[in-house]
Symmetry: C2
Subunit: 220 residues, 2 copies
């Protein structure tokens, strides 16, 4: 499948020239983050909460406490919608009307089910953790059964999706081009600062490869 099908649900109406339904492009947006804003209904009110996620193919995994209100609401609804957004810059035009931001934002519409199978559940938890920081899971103290059993894992299979990407300069009215105000872009990015050892680590502890790799890739 190259593109998600377009329906009233996911069709981008405002700024359709910035829209994409391409699976690979949307996956690229998903893979650039690890925190999604998940929407759910609580007594008829739509609420959104940030959650860590991981992706395996067309499935998104969320995890949390067995009593997590949002996860339980999603399970009951059997469907979910979530949005992942990366802010890339401020677009500062000569008029307020043409101010904008550069960004990559993907909204997913998914089915929801609980992951019951132990092998799948462990794979999902590894996936979520390694989405936060690659290659970390294998270096950790292995999960015990108490932790495993007290964690709820949901599988959200993407049914359809859309994304919007703006990666452009200032677009002003022609009539405004002589207006004497500064216009341009301020690029924005999220960076990592140097890792800080836990105070309880033995003094001689070396910073491992996967931490250095993450830092080198994400520092400014």
């Amino acid at each position: 499948m190259c593109n998600y099908s377009i329906s009233e649900l996911n069709k981008v109406k405002r700024g359709p020239n910035r829209a994409t339904y391409n699976v690979e492009e949307i996956n690229t947006i998903l893979d650039a983050g690890f925190i999604a804003h998940v929407a759910y209904n609580y007594k008829g009110k739509a609420i959104t909460i940030p959650m860590a996620y991981g992706r395996i193919e067309h499935k998104i995994y969320l995890h949390g406490s067995l009593k997590n209100r949002m996860l339980l609401a999603l399970l009951e609804a059997k469907e979910a919608s979530l949005t992942i957004m990366h802010l890339d810059g401020l677009v500062l035009a000569r008029s307020g009307f043409h101010h904008s931001v550069n960004y990559r934002s993907a909204t997913l519409f998914t089915s929801v089910k609980k992951v019951e199978n132990a092998t799948e559940k462990e794979a999902a938890l590894k996936c979520v953790l390694d989405y936060m920081i690659p290659n970390r899971w294998d270096s950790l103290r292995p999960m015990n059964s108490k932790e495993f059993n007290s964690t709820l894992v949901l599988e959200l299979e993407i049914q359809t999706a859309s994304a919007k990407v703006r990666a452009d300069g200032v677009i002003d009215e022609k009539a405004d081009l002589d207006y004497p105000t500064w216009a341009g872009i301020i690029p924005i990015k999220q960076i990592a600062e140097a890792p800080i050892n836990d105070v309880l680590l033995p003094k001689e502890t070396q910073t491992p490869e996967h931490i250095l790799e993450y830092y080198n890739k994400n520092q400014s």
Copy 2:
């Protein structure tokens, strides 16, 4: 009012020791950003979309096209919920279970109404724009009536809210402290890179004070 009232709607159940209902603390979280994830219902499905916002006292302002599906849905619902989240760091424990992030996240529950009064509407649009980058509005080509009339502005008055803040080190099980894996924090922050002049600006254009101030404050 010092604290928002606590009800089933906004009570933080998971990690209540990290919760706050303090108006000033929540305002500080709101004022550190300009993009919220707004939740809305579309045919019974909860969806969330990122939107620019501004705050004046206990009111949040959103704007968009007159036909914006989300804004129209919020107007019809007469209530909204939105979340503003800042990611401050990865918390890398010795077990997967104790991995976390440092963050500041506020969730608001609001009433919704359309801003009809022209003076209030202009003040709201100025507020939203200056939330993105302070002191910009006054340097812009003034809004014309076509732009003004084609923009829908909503006032979301905060009825109640809650926030969660984690700003802490690694918290591991005592039994795990000797486990031979690296543990610690990787601080994360959002930064601005150097402003890029619009290609159509006259060559001699100086970067104005409000742009330099923003850059100096937000560069790494």
